[in-house]
């Protein structure tokens, strides 16, 4: 073996060209190994971060984790159809947020975003009161992945409403 170690490139029956190819393959293997390790590491990190990196809790998370009253949390979910009730003062709004399995009553005082309608997504900062109602300090609207032109939407909702209004007049 000692003989070969000091042999010049091109020994052992290999040409210089083949030695170059071998070095290239080594670099390629190294690069692929590094990539696999990186992807594995980041997947593990992302998996571990799953709870911490979430921007909000869903009503199910709240039901499961039972946060203490007064603890600052961020709640996200869909506004239940028919649940929005505007207070007499004009700025207080009460509604129910659900995620398909659990529900959470929310109260908010302030100006609501344009996208805040029944069936839309919301994210609210606030805390649970002793009564189990979520008191929101800020209210953000969450847009979904659907983009629908006004005209098409009118077919089932606005159109019918307009028709009723015209008929009444």
């Amino acid at each position: 073996m000692g003989l070969f170690r000091y042999a010049p490139i091109g020994a052992k029956g290999r040409t210089v060209e083949q030695e170059k190819m071998k070095a290239k393959h080594q670099r390629l293997t190294l690069a692929i190994l590094a990539l696999v390790a990186l992807i594995g590491a980041s997947l593990l990190a992302a998996y571990a971060l799953q709870d911490q990196a979430s921007y909000f809790y869903t009503p199910s998370d709240i039901a499961e984790k039972q946060p203490k009253a007064g603890q600052a949390i961020r709640l996200g979910g869909m506004v239940e159809e028919g649940s929005i009730q505007r207070g007499a003062d004009g700025v207080t709004v009460e509604f129910v947020v659900h995620d398909g399995t659990a529900k959470q009553a929310v109260t908010y005082t302030g100006i609501t975003p344009d996208l805040f309608v029944e069936g839309s997504g919301v994210v609210a900062d606030g805390k649970l009161t002793d009564g189990g109602v979520f008191r929101a300090d800020t209210l953000l609207a969450k847009h979904d992945e659907n983009y629908v032109p006004r005209e098409l939407d009118g077919i089932d909702m606005t159109g019918a409403q307009n028709k009723t209004e015209t008929l009444v007049q």
Binding site: K24, R27, L28, A31, A34, L35, L38, I39, A41, S42, A46, L49, Q50, A53, S54, Y55, F56, Y57, T58, G76, P113, D114, L115, V117, S120, V123, T138, L139, L140, A141, K142, H143, D144, E145, N146, Y147, V148, P149, R150, E151, L152, D153
Partner: protein
């Protein structure tokens, strides 16, 4: 591929391509944006603010595509030692950073009326901000490289390591609860109405061509710079 390792041969192809990419790209962007702003309908909930989509989506896609190409070029540089790979990666860095910034700014403008806030620290928005900082770091590393025209191996390795952020950006809306909505256009189809979709696709192609034109211009400028430097050094030696 090594046929284009010869800068002269690369330049003979890059010169006409730059012009074509630039002209066709700008025409498509002008058409797509004009249609998107004037003719496309307003969204049922977002109203007219949906129109920012025609700029926001292409710029962010290209910001992510930019780093993906930096990573590929970096692998090519390290494994195959192709002399143009580093020049290409360096050419992508500045427009990539610019497009990331544009995506963040347009997203912020869209978020104010839609979400009710300019900025949130959710998974998607934060990971794109990280991408912007990665671009800045790459540019700084590339400028600190002593390699003429190219970038150092450390820079190339950084280009590969930084690519880990790309799948994170892509998956952020799936892995974590985010304020940003999940992807509308996936391999399975699109949940964007066709009235919005086709001007968007025109703009995506247009912005991609513009991005390509900027990258080719940057690559030509880098090659020209190294030529000037080499010539000055030769003159100084004489």
């Amino acid at each position: 591929m090594h046929a284009y390792a010869n800068p002269a041969r690369f330049l003979s192809l890059a010169k006409p391509l730059t012009l074509w990419f630039l002209v066709v790209g700008i025409l498509l962007i002008a058409f797509g944006s004009a249609y998107g702003i004037l003719a496309a309908p307003a969204d049922r909930l977002m109203g007219d603010s949906v129109r920012i989509l025609y700029i926001h989506v292409p710029t962010v896609w290209l910001a992510m595509g930019g780093w993906t190409s930096i990573a590929i070029a970096s692998i090519v540089q390290i494994v195959w030692r192709h002399p143009l790979a580093a020049v290409a990666a360096r050419g992508v860095a500045v427009p990539g950073a610019l497009f990331t910034a544009l995506g963040l700014i347009t997203g912020s403008i869209w978020a104010r009326p839609t979400w009710g806030t300019w900025w949130v620290w959710d998974g998607r928005v934060t990971s794109v901000l990280v991408l912007f900082f990665l671009y800045l770091a790459y540019i700084a590393l590339a400028n600190a490289s002593s390699e003429k025209g190219g970038v150092s191996r450390v820079t190339a390795i950084f280009g590969i390591v930084g690519a880990i952020n790309i799948p994170i950006i892509n998956r952020s809306v799936v892995w974590w609860n985010t304020l940003h909505q999940p992807a509308s256009i996936t391999a399975g189809g699109s949940s964007i109405d066709s009235a919005f979709l086709w001007p968007l696709l025109v703009n995506v192609v247009g912005f991609s061509l513009l991005f390509g034109a900027i990258v080719l211009m940057r690559m030509r400028a880098i090659l020209a710079e190294t030529k000037v430097e080499a010539r000055l050094r030769r003159m100084a030696a004489e």
